[in-house]
Amino acid sequence: MESLGSIISYVVIALAIVICSILAVTTRKILRAATYLLFALFATAAVYFKLDYEFLGGVQIAVYAGGIVVLVVFAILLTPHPGDNSERLASRSRRLGLLAGLAAFAAGAYSLVTRCELLAKAPEMSNPDMDTIGTALLGTGNGQYLLPFEAVSVLLLACIIGGVVVARKR
Protein backbone atom coordinates (compact mmCIF):
# COMPACT_ATOMS: atom_id res chain seq x y z
CA MET A 1 0.00 0.00 0.00
CA GLU A 2 1.41 3.28 -1.02
CA SER A 3 1.51 6.12 1.34
CA LEU A 4 -1.04 8.82 0.73
CA GLY A 5 1.64 11.39 0.12
CA SER A 6 3.10 9.24 -2.54
CA ILE A 7 -0.23 8.88 -4.21
CA ILE A 8 -0.95 12.55 -4.06
CA SER A 9 2.41 13.43 -5.44
CA TYR A 10 1.90 10.86 -8.15
CA VAL A 11 -1.47 12.32 -9.11
CA VAL A 12 -0.04 15.79 -9.27
CA ILE A 13 2.88 14.69 -11.39
CA ALA A 14 0.76 12.60 -13.73
CA LEU A 15 -1.75 15.37 -14.20
CA ALA A 16 1.05 17.82 -14.87
CA ILE A 17 2.53 15.53 -17.47
CA VAL A 18 -0.73 14.91 -19.24
CA ILE A 19 -2.05 18.43 -19.16
CA CYS A 20 1.19 20.11 -20.05
CA SER A 21 1.77 17.73 -22.91
CA ILE A 22 -1.66 18.31 -24.32
CA LEU A 23 -1.39 22.01 -23.95
CA ALA A 24 2.07 22.08 -25.44
CA VAL A 25 0.78 20.63 -28.68
CA THR A 26 -2.55 22.34 -28.82
CA THR A 27 -1.84 25.91 -27.83
CA ARG A 28 -1.66 28.22 -30.75
CA LYS A 29 0.95 30.47 -29.25
CA ILE A 30 4.40 29.13 -29.89
CA LEU A 31 6.04 30.64 -26.82
CA ARG A 32 3.39 29.16 -24.62
CA ALA A 33 4.02 25.85 -26.17
CA ALA A 34 7.65 26.16 -25.16
CA THR A 35 6.60 26.99 -21.68
CA TYR A 36 4.29 24.01 -21.42
CA LEU A 37 7.11 21.88 -22.68
CA LEU A 38 9.27 23.19 -19.90
CA PHE A 39 6.64 22.20 -17.36
CA ALA A 40 6.27 18.82 -18.85
CA LEU A 41 10.00 18.33 -18.61
CA PHE A 42 9.96 19.43 -15.00
CA ALA A 43 7.20 16.96 -14.31
CA THR A 44 9.33 14.27 -15.85
CA ALA A 45 12.20 15.25 -13.69
CA ALA A 46 9.83 14.94 -10.76
CA VAL A 47 9.07 11.40 -11.81
CA TYR A 48 12.79 10.64 -11.83
CA PHE A 49 13.15 12.05 -8.37
CA LYS A 50 10.15 10.12 -7.24
CA LEU A 51 11.65 6.94 -8.58
CA ASP A 52 14.89 7.75 -6.77
CA TYR A 53 17.02 8.59 -9.78
CA GLU A 54 18.21 11.83 -8.39
CA PHE A 55 21.21 12.20 -10.62
CA LEU A 56 19.05 11.66 -13.62
CA GLY A 57 16.51 14.14 -12.41
CA GLY A 58 19.26 16.65 -12.03
CA VAL A 59 20.52 16.06 -15.50
CA GLN A 60 16.99 16.31 -16.82
CA ILE A 61 16.51 19.71 -15.29
CA ALA A 62 19.94 20.97 -16.22
CA VAL A 63 20.24 19.74 -19.74
CA TYR A 64 16.74 19.29 -20.91
CA ALA A 65 14.79 21.92 -19.18
CA GLY A 66 17.67 24.27 -18.84
CA GLY A 67 19.48 23.74 -22.09
CA ILE A 68 17.09 22.57 -24.71
CA VAL A 69 14.17 24.72 -23.83
CA VAL A 70 16.38 27.75 -23.80
CA LEU A 71 17.62 26.73 -27.21
CA VAL A 72 14.07 26.43 -28.41
CA VAL A 73 13.14 29.78 -27.03
CA PHE A 74 16.11 31.35 -28.75
CA ALA A 75 15.04 29.76 -31.96
CA ILE A 76 11.54 31.08 -31.50
CA LEU A 77 12.89 34.51 -31.00
CA LEU A 78 15.11 34.24 -34.05
CA THR A 79 12.25 33.18 -36.28
CA PRO A 80 9.39 35.47 -37.17
CA HIS A 81 6.67 36.91 -35.01
CA PRO A 82 7.36 35.20 -31.72
CA GLY A 83 4.22 34.67 -29.72
CA ASP A 84 1.97 35.11 -32.67
CA ASN A 85 -0.94 32.85 -33.13
CA SER A 86 -0.38 30.06 -35.49
CA GLU A 87 -3.02 29.49 -38.07
CA ARG A 88 -6.07 27.50 -37.15
CA LEU A 89 -5.62 23.93 -38.06
CA ALA A 90 -7.51 22.42 -40.91
CA SER A 91 -9.84 19.80 -39.56
CA ARG A 92 -8.48 17.15 -41.89
CA SER A 93 -5.00 17.62 -40.63
CA ARG A 94 -6.26 17.52 -37.05
CA ARG A 95 -8.13 14.33 -37.68
CA LEU A 96 -5.07 12.74 -39.20
CA GLY A 97 -2.94 13.85 -36.28
CA LEU A 98 -5.47 12.63 -33.80
CA LEU A 99 -5.72 9.30 -35.54
CA ALA A 100 -1.97 8.89 -35.54
CA GLY A 101 -1.62 9.89 -31.90
CA LEU A 102 -4.41 7.62 -30.78
CA ALA A 103 -3.10 4.75 -32.86
CA ALA A 104 0.35 5.09 -31.39
CA PHE A 105 -1.13 5.33 -27.94
CA ALA A 106 -3.43 2.38 -28.46
CA ALA A 107 -0.69 0.16 -29.83
CA GLY A 108 1.65 1.10 -27.01
CA ALA A 109 -0.98 0.86 -24.32
CA TYR A 110 -2.21 -2.51 -25.51
CA SER A 111 1.31 -3.89 -25.54
CA LEU A 112 1.98 -2.57 -22.08
CA VAL A 113 -1.29 -3.60 -20.52
CA THR A 114 -1.02 -7.15 -21.73
CA ARG A 115 2.31 -7.53 -19.99
CA CYS A 116 1.54 -8.78 -16.54
CA GLU A 117 4.93 -8.13 -14.92
CA LEU A 118 4.10 -4.47 -15.11
CA LEU A 119 1.30 -4.97 -12.63
CA ALA A 120 3.72 -6.28 -10.06
CA LYS A 121 4.43 -4.47 -6.89
CA ALA A 122 6.99 -1.75 -6.91
CA PRO A 123 10.35 -3.03 -5.66
CA GLU A 124 12.46 -1.44 -3.03
CA MET A 125 13.78 1.87 -4.21
CA SER A 126 17.52 2.41 -4.03
CA ASN A 127 19.20 5.50 -5.22
CA PRO A 128 22.36 4.67 -7.20
CA ASP A 129 25.17 6.62 -5.66
CA MET A 130 27.53 8.82 -7.63
CA ASP A 131 30.38 6.37 -7.25
CA THR A 132 28.53 3.66 -9.03
CA ILE A 133 27.39 6.03 -11.72
CA GLY A 134 30.88 7.38 -12.27
CA THR A 135 32.43 3.94 -12.40
CA ALA A 136 29.81 2.68 -14.79
CA LEU A 137 30.28 5.64 -17.05
CA LEU A 138 34.00 5.04 -17.44
CA GLY A 139 34.25 1.29 -17.08
CA THR A 140 34.63 -1.35 -19.73
CA GLY A 141 32.88 -4.22 -18.03
CA ASN A 142 29.38 -5.48 -18.32
CA GLY A 143 26.94 -2.67 -17.67
CA GLN A 144 29.63 -0.05 -17.99
CA TYR A 145 29.63 2.57 -20.64
CA LEU A 146 33.03 3.85 -21.57
CA LEU A 147 32.58 3.16 -25.25
CA PRO A 148 29.20 4.89 -25.61
CA PHE A 149 30.61 7.73 -23.65
CA GLU A 150 33.45 8.15 -26.09
CA ALA A 151 31.15 7.63 -29.00
CA VAL A 152 28.68 10.22 -27.89
CA SER A 153 31.52 12.68 -27.66
CA VAL A 154 32.23 12.09 -31.31
CA LEU A 155 28.55 12.54 -32.04
CA LEU A 156 28.48 15.83 -30.24
CA LEU A 157 31.57 16.98 -32.05
CA ALA A 158 29.98 16.05 -35.32
CA CYS A 159 26.86 17.94 -34.42
CA ILE A 160 28.90 20.96 -33.54
CA ILE A 161 30.65 20.84 -36.87
CA GLY A 162 27.34 20.28 -38.60
CA GLY A 163 25.76 23.13 -36.74
CA VAL A 164 28.63 25.39 -37.66
CA VAL A 165 28.39 24.47 -41.30
CA VAL A 166 24.68 25.01 -41.36
CA ALA A 167 24.74 28.21 -39.45
CA ARG A 168 27.58 29.79 -41.37
CA LYS A 169 26.45 32.49 -43.72
CA ARG A 170 28.57 31.41 -46.65
Binding site: L51, I68, G101, L118
Partner: protein, 103 residues
Amino acid sequence: MELNALYYLIPSLIMFACGVYGFITRRNMIAMLISLELMLNSVDMNFVVFNRFLFPNQMEGMFFTLFAIAIAAAETALAIAIVVNVYRANNDIDVRDICKMKF
Protein backbone atom coordinates in the same frame (compact mmCIF):
# COMPACT_ATOMS: atom_id res chain seq x y z
CA MET B 1 -3.69 1.49 -4.07
CA GLU B 2 -0.45 0.20 -5.40
CA LEU B 3 1.52 2.39 -7.78
CA ASN B 4 2.78 -0.14 -10.26
CA ALA B 5 4.70 0.51 -13.47
CA LEU B 6 1.64 1.13 -15.57
CA TYR B 7 0.78 4.18 -13.55
CA TYR B 8 3.89 5.78 -14.86
CA LEU B 9 3.89 4.29 -18.29
CA ILE B 10 0.46 5.43 -19.31
CA PRO B 11 1.11 9.14 -18.74
CA SER B 12 4.36 8.62 -20.56
CA LEU B 13 2.50 7.11 -23.46
CA ILE B 14 0.03 9.98 -23.43
CA MET B 15 2.97 12.30 -23.66
CA PHE B 16 4.28 10.33 -26.58
CA ALA B 17 0.92 10.40 -28.30
CA CYS B 18 0.74 14.14 -27.78
CA GLY B 19 4.15 14.41 -29.33
CA VAL B 20 3.00 12.44 -32.32
CA TYR B 21 -0.11 14.51 -32.64
CA GLY B 22 1.83 17.70 -32.43
CA PHE B 23 4.45 16.56 -34.87
CA ILE B 24 1.83 15.75 -37.42
CA THR B 25 -0.39 18.74 -36.96
CA ARG B 26 1.87 21.67 -36.14
CA ARG B 27 2.99 23.68 -39.10
CA ASN B 28 5.57 25.72 -37.31
CA MET B 29 8.78 23.78 -37.48
CA ILE B 30 9.83 24.83 -34.01
CA ALA B 31 6.53 23.63 -32.67
CA MET B 32 7.27 20.35 -34.35
CA LEU B 33 10.58 20.22 -32.52
CA ILE B 34 8.75 20.86 -29.27
CA SER B 35 6.53 17.91 -30.04
CA LEU B 36 9.59 15.88 -30.76
CA GLU B 37 10.99 16.72 -27.34
CA LEU B 38 7.83 15.35 -25.81
CA MET B 39 8.27 12.10 -27.67
CA LEU B 40 11.89 11.72 -26.67
CA ASN B 41 11.09 12.58 -23.14
CA SER B 42 8.43 9.93 -23.01
CA VAL B 43 10.93 7.38 -24.23
CA ASP B 44 13.34 8.40 -21.50
CA MET B 45 10.67 8.04 -18.93
CA ASN B 46 9.81 4.57 -20.21
CA PHE B 47 13.39 3.46 -19.78
CA VAL B 48 13.59 4.76 -16.31
CA VAL B 49 10.31 3.22 -15.29
CA PHE B 50 11.21 -0.15 -16.74
CA ASN B 51 14.54 -0.05 -15.06
CA ARG B 52 13.08 0.83 -11.72
CA PHE B 53 10.14 -1.51 -11.70
CA LEU B 54 11.29 -4.55 -13.60
CA PHE B 55 15.07 -4.66 -13.39
CA PRO B 56 16.00 -2.77 -10.28
CA ASN B 57 19.34 -4.50 -9.95
CA GLN B 58 21.05 -2.78 -12.82
CA MET B 59 21.21 0.64 -14.45
CA GLU B 60 20.91 0.06 -18.16
CA GLY B 61 17.71 2.02 -18.50
CA MET B 62 19.02 4.88 -16.53
CA PHE B 63 22.14 5.12 -18.56
CA PHE B 64 20.25 4.89 -21.74
CA THR B 65 18.19 7.84 -20.58
CA LEU B 66 21.32 9.70 -19.66
CA PHE B 67 22.77 9.25 -23.10
CA ALA B 68 19.43 9.80 -24.73
CA ILE B 69 19.24 13.22 -23.16
CA ALA B 70 22.58 14.01 -24.72
CA ILE B 71 21.46 12.71 -28.06
CA ALA B 72 18.24 14.65 -27.85
CA ALA B 73 20.20 17.77 -27.14
CA ALA B 74 22.37 17.17 -30.17
CA GLU B 75 19.40 16.46 -32.32
CA THR B 76 17.58 19.53 -31.21
CA ALA B 77 20.58 21.73 -31.62
CA LEU B 78 21.21 20.59 -35.15
CA ALA B 79 17.55 20.69 -36.05
CA ILE B 80 17.20 24.20 -34.77
CA ALA B 81 20.27 25.22 -36.71
CA ILE B 82 18.74 23.88 -39.84
CA VAL B 83 15.37 25.45 -39.16
CA VAL B 84 17.00 28.79 -38.64
CA ASN B 85 19.03 28.29 -41.77
CA VAL B 86 15.93 27.46 -43.76
CA TYR B 87 14.21 30.45 -42.30
CA ARG B 88 17.08 32.63 -43.39
CA ALA B 89 16.95 31.25 -46.88
CA ASN B 90 13.22 31.13 -47.17
CA ASN B 91 11.81 33.58 -44.70
CA ASP B 92 9.23 31.07 -43.68
CA ILE B 93 9.01 28.34 -41.09
CA ASP B 94 5.74 26.81 -42.16
CA VAL B 95 6.59 23.25 -43.00
CA ARG B 96 3.74 22.96 -45.47
CA ASP B 97 5.32 25.53 -47.69
CA ILE B 98 8.46 23.46 -47.94
CA CYS B 99 7.20 21.05 -50.53
CA LYS B 100 8.53 22.05 -53.88
CA MET B 101 9.94 18.62 -54.51
CA LYS B 102 7.28 16.00 -54.76
CA PHE B 103 5.84 13.09 -56.74
